[in-house]
């Protein structure tokens, strides 16, 4: 897009001043190059978000922002319920609480090297991935209720995981305020055989090597050393979240007039936080968050089982578990006053800085681990939350690279099999049920995650701690 549409506030902060129906400014964190490469639709979508009732401070876009639906992907917006603020199903997205969890293995890359192929096979056998894959867990009504209410805590009670996992998950693994009775039978039906499955698209399970450390002190606290092996899981709330998103999006579109909400784009459909519909959505969406947390917890358990077949004496502990499609009630300082706000993060990661009361004790001094997924074959990053991120964008950072090329273009340009062979030559093992899926997720179809992370660091949204390189990728 054309950078002359913006006022450049500092090196990485670009502002669109309120105009038309905009209630607040729109702000994009980027450098000139990333901004130029962003689709003009990001501008349109972000300025649309800025028109929504009760929005506070500004509508923000992270450095990885791209054209989404309603909200840009990489969008952050906070709403004040006392000022007529809204909750938007499109502002959370269809994959509620999609996120990344990283596990520390304690293994060194040299120890893994002779067992790489065997580990790839073991993980691929154990963790269901791709279209049409089903898990071994089948939820009846009671179990479904427990899962939607309890999240990772429920999974733990069923024997999936270890008690110490919970403190390293946002919300300690259980999103409060879930109201499963607002989750329809259809959403439940879509989920009953999908627990512990990765899904497809950009979801994956990746074995990674710590390739570079940027901050020794924080890396030590996070338990990361160069050449350590870690395992990252990227997935969300599966069919249940998709169905909740689908149903509430439609209901919010049809109810907008009733709430006197003028929608610049139907996809921005929303309802006042204090309305029955807004409350029902929050209850269902929180149940969706629990579904995602339970799902990643079960996949963690399956991963541990797969790893134990080759390395029976190692322990896989959590680094952290972050969600990047959510709306959460948080305390933020606005004009010197503490306010309770509902912060939407659509393709953006929460990034609490040092001292935040919600952080586990072990990370209190350094800030929250912020896990940024790469694309197949490219680096991922670990960052940490900063104090200034609170002022920059309600303590938020980017979530990944963002696509540079559509799926159609990617599948025209690359063959899945060729890509798998090429990555194998670089020492990266890919396991996937679909070669076309692999082609659509080609590394070059994504923006350079390194550039995105550099800007997040320079903008103070989060600080770089470590870079991870893929070794094995189980692709959904």
């Amino acid at each position: 897009m054309d950078t002359s549409q913006f006022i450049q506030r500092d090196e990485t902060c670009w502002e669109i001043q309120p105009k038309g129906a905009m209630r607040v400014p729109a702000i994009i964190y980027a450098d000139a190059q990333l901004l130029q490469d962003m689709d003009q639709k990001v501008y349109e979508q972000l300025t649309n978000v800025a028109t929504l009732p009760g929005i506070v401070e500004a509508a923000y876009a992270m450095p990885d922002a791209n054209w989404g639906y309603g909200f840009p992907i990489g969008g952050v917006a906070a709403f004040d319920p006392d000022q007529g603020g809204v909750v938007s199903a499109g502002g959370v997205g269809f994959d509620i609480s999609c996120g990344v969890r990283t596990l520390l293995t304690g293994l060194n890359i040299a120890e893994l090297q002779p067992h790489k192929q065997a580990l790839a096979d073991a993980l691929y056998r154990k963790v269901p991935a791709g279209v049409g894959s089903k898990g071994k867990i089948h939820l009846n009504h009671k179990a479904m209720h427990g899962m939607l209410t309890g999240g990772a805590q429920w999974a733990l009670d069923q024997g999936y995981g270890e008690p110490q996992d919970l403190e390293r998950i946002e919300e300690h693994g259980c999103m409060a305020g879930a109201e499963p009775h607002y989750v329809t039978p259809r959403a439940r039906e879509r989920q009953k055989d999908e627990m512990g499955t990765l899904g497809s698209g950009n979801h994956y399970l990746e074995v990674q090597r710590v390739a570079e450390i940027f901050d020794q002190n924080v890396a030590k606290t996070f338990g990361l050393r160069v050449d350590d092996v870690v395992i990252s899981i990227h997935c969300g709330s599966r069919g249940l979240g998709h169905q909740i998103g689908t149903e509430f999006l439609k209901e919010m579109v049809m109810s907008a007039a009733q709430y006197q909400i003028v929608l610049p784009d139907r996809e921005l459909a929303c309802a006042p936080l204090n309305s029955p519909l807004g409350k029902h959505y929050l209850g269902a969406m929180r149940a969706g968050i629990n579904c995602a947390l339970a799902n990643r917890q079960i996949i963690t358990h399956l991963t541990r089982q797969a790893v134990a077949t080759l390395f029976p004496n190692i322990h896989l502990g959590l680094l952290y578990d972050v969600s990047h499609n959510t709306c959460k009630l948080e305390q933020h300082m606005i004009d010197g006053q503490r306010k309770s706000l509902f912060v939407h993060r659509k393709g953006a990661t929460r990034a609490f800085g040092p001292g935040h009361p919600d952080l586990p004790t072990v990370y209190k001094e350094v800030g929250q681990p912020v896990l940024i997924g790469g694309s197949m074959g490219t680096s991922s990053y670990v960052l940490c939350g900063t104090k200034e991120s609170e002022q920059r964008a309600f303590s938020s950072a980017c979530h990944g690279a963002g696509r540079a090329m559509s799926r159609t273009q990617a599948s025209k340009q690359w063959q899945g099999r060729t890509l798998v062979d090429k990555l194998a030559a670089q020492g990266i093992i890919i396991r996937s049920p679909s070669m076309r899926g692999v082609a659509e997720e080609a590394p070059l179809a994504y923006k350079d995650v390194g550039a995105v992370v550099d800007i997040a660091d320079r903008a103070g949204l989060a600080r770089k701690v470590a870079r991870l390189e893929p070794v094995i990728c189980i692709k959904g």
Binding site: D39, K41, N66, W67, G68, Y69, G70, I73, G90, G93, F94, D95, G130, V131, G132, S133, R186, E189, R190, G199, S200, G201, G239, H242, Q243, G245, T246, L249, K250, V253, M254, D265, R266, E267, A269, G402, R403, S406, R407, T408, Q409, S411, P433, S434, M435, R436, G437, A439, E440
Partner: protein
Amino acid sequence: MNSEPTTPHWEHFEHQADIGIRGIAPTLEQAFEQAAVAMTAVVTDPDLLTASKVVSIHCEAPDTELLFVNWINELIYQMSVHGLLFKRYQVFIKNDTLSATAFGVAVDRQKHQPAVEIKGATFTELRVYQQADGTWLAQCVVDV
């Protein structure tokens, strides 16, 4: 894909993160059918599919565009819970009420190589209208 404008056909259109589905045909019903084939083609090559399983679909909406979103979402739901891929469709629409039959087959991961699951139909680029040449167009972006 067929480029002949008066013959029912489908196409994909570009969206940065997701993908657009579009059906173009002489009638509204056929445009809905073709857009649904475009949706199947997001997942797999429709030519790889057979049509041994039949599912009945009913939905209604206050306007034709919402009806289109409901139609696609109904198919996504049926595909998901029954593990099906649909090869072709037969649609009837009267007064914004849709009755349809979807013909498909159970997903065979080896044979169909399904690329991606569809999460839902979005309102992005949602359009249903009769073009200047009289043909109908139905389209939206689907989230994958």
